[in-house]
């Protein structure tokens, strides 16, 4: 494998994880992104001489962290001439070792909770999660949600600055705050799934993104096994609600033939692979979609649920655009009952 291919592969497969670790250590999204890019550039220069390290993720994280700290120190030095009274250096973990950096666990979950913080407006949360966690470019997100690229880029920059300046934590929220934070996170995860589900079937990376959405959903399910919101209305297994869309053949589309884009379609579960249905309750990833669509009809097992959800998804996705008349994702009620 060439060095370039190796760097590309590590970046593609571990980008979100590395970014999460760097965000945690540096306390700043923009700085973390720059540091990661710089580390990759450094790898392209160094690895042809030194060979590909055994632990490329650790190597990139160490270089990225050191570079990030360098930049922070330089910025502080520049400001020291005016002697800033107190400086947020973000060096909460200055002495962190390489092993500890890699071993921060799956920080992607804390990253997604930060990206979905209620202090950010919903469009900013979705855009930020898609960019930071999933790795879409500002242009791709802008096209997906039919907003101008500069508008979206500005939205992202503003959100990242607010996270840094307002002291939004980089932690998974403590237990007593988890439920209220969860519904917003689930909506974003669901939107990522539906969005990439509609993506070009020829592009293999979109399959990975879909898998990423499912993985994030599953991770939340594992973290909160007692939280019915994470599970689907008729799921008996650990996989979150939308994972039923997974067995669908790549490239199979739903929605009107010939149409494409976010308004044309949503996920339709492969009914043949679905476990035996129970009556749908309001407690699931599916519920907010139905709530947002105003679809209060109780769906019968094996009914046209997929079609209803399709319509609901369409409204949800549309709600992210600039012309949303009201925030579609503002449901608050939590029905705990799973039985009817």
């Amino acid at each position: 494998m060439t060095v370039a291919a190796a760097v590309e592969r590590v970046y593609r497969e571990e980008r979100a994880r590395m970014l999460a670790a760097l965000v945690r250590v540096l306390g700043d999204f923009e700085l973390a992104e720059e540091a990661l890019h710089e580390a990759c550039a450094q790898a392209l220069r160094s690895w042809p001489r030194t060979g590909i390290p055994d632990n490329p993720v650790g190597w990139l994280l160490t270089v990225g962290r050191n570079r990030g700290f360098d930049w922070q120190r330089r910025a502080i030095k520049g400001r020291e001439k005016q002697e800033v009274a107190a400086v947020h250096t973000g060096e909460a973990m200055p002495g962190i070792s390489e092993d500890a950096l890699v071993g921060l666990g799956d920080d992607r979950l804390s990253l997604i909770f930060t990206c979905c913080h209620p202090a950010l407006a919903m469009p900013a949360r979705v855009a930020l999660t898609l960019q930071v966690v999933v790795g879409l470019t500002a242009g791709e997100i802008a096209r997906a949600f039919l907003v101008g690229e500069s508008t979206l880029a500005q939205r992202l920059v503003r959100a990242k600055r607010k996270i840094r300046e307002a002291g939004v934590s980089f932690e998974v929220p403590p237990d007593h705050r988890l439920p209220e934070r969860l519904s917003g996170v689930l909506a974003v995860v669901y939107l990522i799934f539906t969005q990439v589900y509609n993506a070009s079937p020829a592009a293999p990376e979109h399959r990975e993104l879909r898998a990423e959405a499912i993985r994030l959903g599953s991770l939340i399910a594992t973290l909160m096994p007692a939280e019915p919101e994470v599970y689907g209305p008729d799921s008996a297994d650990v996989a979150p609600r939308f994972a039923y869309g997974r067995p669908l053949r790549p490239g199979r589309r739903c929605g009107a033939a010939g149409r494409s884009g976010p308004h044309a379609m949503g996920p339709v579960a492969d009914r043949g692979r679905r476990p035996p249905s129970r009556p749908c309750t309001e407690t699931s990833l599916n519920r907010p979609v139905r709530a947002a669509s105003g679809d209060r009809r109780r769906t019968r097992p094996g009914s046209d649920r997929g079609r209803h959800r399709l319509a609901a998804n369409r409204r949800l996705v549309r709600g992210i655009g600039p012309h949303a008349s009201r925030p579609p994702l503002s449901w608050t009620s939590t029905t705990r009952s799973r039985s009817r």
Partner: protein, 117 residues
């Protein structure tokens, strides 16, 4: 990080008004909670906006104007300064503040003031 909780648009009962004792008890309980957590730094109500005077210095001349007379719901009614762990704690306390039931509370991080040597 230090945060300022800016309180807008709530009616403040005066001594003698019905509900005054109850309001005071709730506010004191909130301040006690902030102190118990060790985040409390300062907090005061402000007199109504009719008492405000605005000062501007232009061409070396200090100009005083009566007011401004903002709408009631736009008036800054008071503030708290809390030194919290993160934004989440500040938001949690803002939600516990009795004035949030009535008006609204803007949570703003306090910036570090640059000083000359």
């Amino acid at each position: 990080m230090r945060y300022m909780l800016l309180i807008y648009g709530c009616n403040r009962p005066e001594p003698g008004d019905p509900g005054f004792a109850e309001a005071l008890t709730r506010i004191n309980a909130f301040v006690d909670e902030c102190c118990r957590r060790g985040v409390y730094e300062a907090g005061d109500p402000l007199k109504t906006i009719e008492t405000a005077t605005t000062v501007r210095v232009r061409d070396g001349q200090a100009l005083m104007t009566d007011g401004p007379f903002a709408e009631t719901n736009e008036q800054l009614g008071g503030y708290y300064i809390l030194d919290c762990k993160d934004l989440d704690e500040a938001l949690e306390l803002a939600a516990q503040c009795p004035m949030a039931m009535d008006g609204s509370i803007e949570v703003r991080p306090i910036a570090a003031a640059p000083r000359l040597t």
